[in-house]
């Protein structure tokens, strides 16, 4: 019984961690710019794809991962500069549609550059499962979990302890006031996109050995990440991660204890229930204030 529970929990946490990071990426950009960036899943794809290609070309994994993160960050900044910045004052709906379009473009380019097939990355430290109280756990799952904790911690430290991070928070609180105290808003917005791309691609690199990657892998991740975001509370970084983990766990437990056919339905029911009880999400505010 315990072994089964642990197996389900581990499965849910690993999958949920990725949802959480995608949701965190959504949050960073949303807080800074008010844009819901639906190309968030594509950052995850770029992370995985570039790493796979670089490793395939003989680059050692750590360097390949670094290249992937830099590529993703550049794409993030370009997205902000070329697609969002010129129409910054457009209504949110227009901006959302622009990001959907950008996602399609990124996906299409990825299909041409990397091919249409599935790609695989070797596990970082072997694929011999570790036995833990009767459950068997892949070392890569521990990498994903440790990576998630690290990413969340770094984001928290950055936002709360560095001047740049505080500038980002200030911009999201009141753009005009931030401008008046000398914060370079344009730079901060680009930074938010870059940061969001960096963590998205990091998640992509960590999870590719488990899930494989392909040009269209981002579509579903963006959807699940968005669900996690709504569940956790729009605008709350911690809520995003908690929402992701909850979503992953509910899927795994539903598949394990109830029925694998209805596992997605269970996750959606959970979301509806949370929204009925707390319309702002678990850690969100009831109103529309962005913090």
């Amino acid at each position: 019984m315990l072994a089964q529970f642990l197996q389900f929990a581990m499965s849910g946490l690993t999958v949920g961690a990725v949802y959480g990071i995608v949701a965190l990426g959504f949050t960073l950009i949303y807080n800074a710019s008010g844009v819901m960036n639906f190309a968030q899943g594509e950052f995850v794809m770029i992370g995985g794809m570039v790493t796979v290609s670089a490793v395939g070309a003989g680059v050692p994994l750590p360097l390949a991962a670094l290249i992937a993160v830099i590529v993703a960050a550049s794409v993030g900044v370009l997205l902000q500069r070329l697609a969002i910045e010129p129409v910054r004052d457009a209504p949110p709906v227009v901006l959302i549609i622009i990001t959907v379009g950008a996602a399609l473009v990124i996906r299409g380019v990825a299909q041409i550059v990397f091919g249409k097939q599935l790609h695989k990355l070797s596990d970082f430290s072997g694929d011999t499962p570790l036995a833990f109280l009767g459950a068997s756990i892949l070392p890569q799952a521990l990498w994903v979990l440790a990576g998630t904790v690290l990413i969340v911690a770094l984001v928290w430290l950055f936002l709360n302890l560095t001047m740049l991070g505080k500038a980002l928070i200030a911009t999201s609180a009141n753009r005009l006031a931030a401008k008046l105290v000398g914060i370079n808003i344009s730079f901060i917005l680009a930074l938010a996109f870059a940061l969001s791309a960096v963590i998205g691609s990091a998640a992509g690199i960590l999870v590719t050995p488990i899930t494989f990657t392909y040009a269209e892998v981002g579509t579903l991740l963006a959807l699940k990440g968005f669900a996690a975001l709504v569940l956790g509370g729009l605008g709350s970084p911690l809520g995003a991660v908690i929402g992701g983990l909850l979503l992953g766990l509910s899927e795994a437990f539903a598949a394990g204890y109830l029925s694998s056919t209805y596992k997605d339905a269970v996750a959606l029911l959970l979301m509806i229930a949370v929204l009925l009880l707390r319309p702002g999400g678990i850690l969100g505010h009831a109103g529309a204030e962005r913090v």
Binding site: Q4, V15, K120, Y214
Partner: protein, 382 residues
């Protein structure tokens, strides 16, 4: 390398465009194809697209069919059944094709069937499920083995190994669902009992909860995984991760080298029914399929630099059946249809085709080989 690839793709597009719009001559015979060249079904449509192009070129270089050149009109439906239907209408009404090879999946095929039935133009589908040819539709044929045959082949193998109590874990995609239903319909005939069943979404990334449950079920002697795409590779990896010790069977839906690459060492020991094409080099010299399968595999690998998959082979079979019919019956769609139905003893990559008025596929179980993956390569299990 990637630059080369994209250049090659661009060049290919240009060439395709010129042959579509520039090179058309009045006496060319138009053959249509709607394939899922991009999208989730790309692994089906892409090799089929390449195969059709390279063989139509070869046929034309050798003087065409009865002295007339073939002109290929290919549309990419991206795996979308709605788009497939639109393109099918365009093929019939604007391009005025005489016959069609393709329809990569069961879903896109079934969306196009009514159009070809109404226009009375023969349609050789590359989709897998048995519903395409059962009940028989006058103008619709198919070349891949059916999902029911895959179940029957697996059950035959299970009986021989004396494993009769099994569990199913199937994808909820069209192919996975259809094959699951076929397996659940014919298992009793083979004395095989299904003890437990689980499903997963086609894009799920972790199936350990489902497999944990199957493993906990007492008495399961083997597991069958109907599905295609990434799902079966993840199931295979999770299966080994959990230390599940019973034999694992996959379907012909994963019969490409990509599955072995993705699943890695975990794929070793997995069995699946598939066309002889995958083991062309390992067939006995006396095997009637050896020459055809080896020739196709060599040509495909030389030109595309990609490992051969059975999905391109199905397109090859379809084109050869069509060419044979046109050589015997001329270029009138109805005459072509009649001749396709009379195809006898045609050796293809999937087996020997013997069509009839009641059988619009023409393959029997002997066309399937039971393969086992050993050391990351296909091997004959029998």
């Amino acid at each position: 390398m990637t630059l080369h690839k994209s250049l090659a793709i661009a060049a290919g597009l240009l060439l395709g465009a010129t042959s579509l719009f520039g090179g058309a001559q009045a006496q060319d015979i138009k053959v249509g194809a709607v394939l899922s060249v991009t999208g989730p079904g790309a692994f089906l449509g892409d090799p089929a697209d390449k195969t059709l192009r390279m063989y139509v070129d070869e046929i034309n270089a050798k003087g065409g069919v009865k002295g007339r050149k073939l002109q290929l009109v290919i549309y990419d439906d991206g795996g979308d059944a709605g788009k497939a239907r639109t393109f099918a209408t365009r093929l019939v009404e604007e391009d005025k094709i005489v016959a069609m090879v393709g329809g990569s999946s069961t879903g896109t095929t079934m969306a196009m069937v009514p159009i070809f039935e109404e226009a009375q133009i023969p349609f050789i589908s590359l989709g897998g499920a048995v519903v395409i040819i059962e009940p028989v539709k006058k103008f619709v044929f198919k070349t891949p083995h059916t999902d029911r045959m895959a179940c029957e082949k697996i059950f035959t193998d299970l009986k021989q190994r004396n494993l009769t109590r099994i569990a199913l874990i199937s994808g909820t995609d069209g192919f996975g669902k259809s094959m699951r239903d076929q397996c659940a319909a014919v298992n009793a005939k083979y004395g095989v009992e299904i003890l437990a069943e689980e499903t997963y979404g086609p894009r799920d990334t972790d199936m350990t909860p489902q497999l944990t449950n199957l493993k906990a079920k007492a008495g399961v002697q083997a597991v069958i995984n109907p599905g295609f795409g990434q799902g079966p590779a993840i199931v295979t990896r999770n299966f080994r991760q959990l230390g599940f010790a019973v034999p694992l069977y996959q379907s012909h839906g994963v019969a490409s080298k990509q599955y072995i690459d993705l699943a890695g060492d975990a794929a070793n020991g997995v069995r699946l029914p598939a066309a002889a094409l995958l083991v062309a080099d390992k067939l006995a010299a006396s095997d009637p399929q050896k020459a055809v399968a080896s020739a196709y595999a060599t040509k495909f690998q030389t030109i595309t630099k990609e490992p051969v998959s059975t999905f391109g082979g199905h397109a090859f079979d379809g084109l050869m059946i069509l060419v044979g019919a046109m050589e015997r019956g001329g270029f009138d769609p109805k005459a072509i249809r009649d001749e396709i139905e009379k195809t006898k003893g045609l050796i293809g990559t999937a087996g020997v085709f013997n069509m009839s008025a009641s059988d619009h596929m023409g393959l029997d179980l002997s066309a399937f080989k039971m393969l086992e993956i050993r050391n990351g390569d296909w091997a004959l299990a029998e």
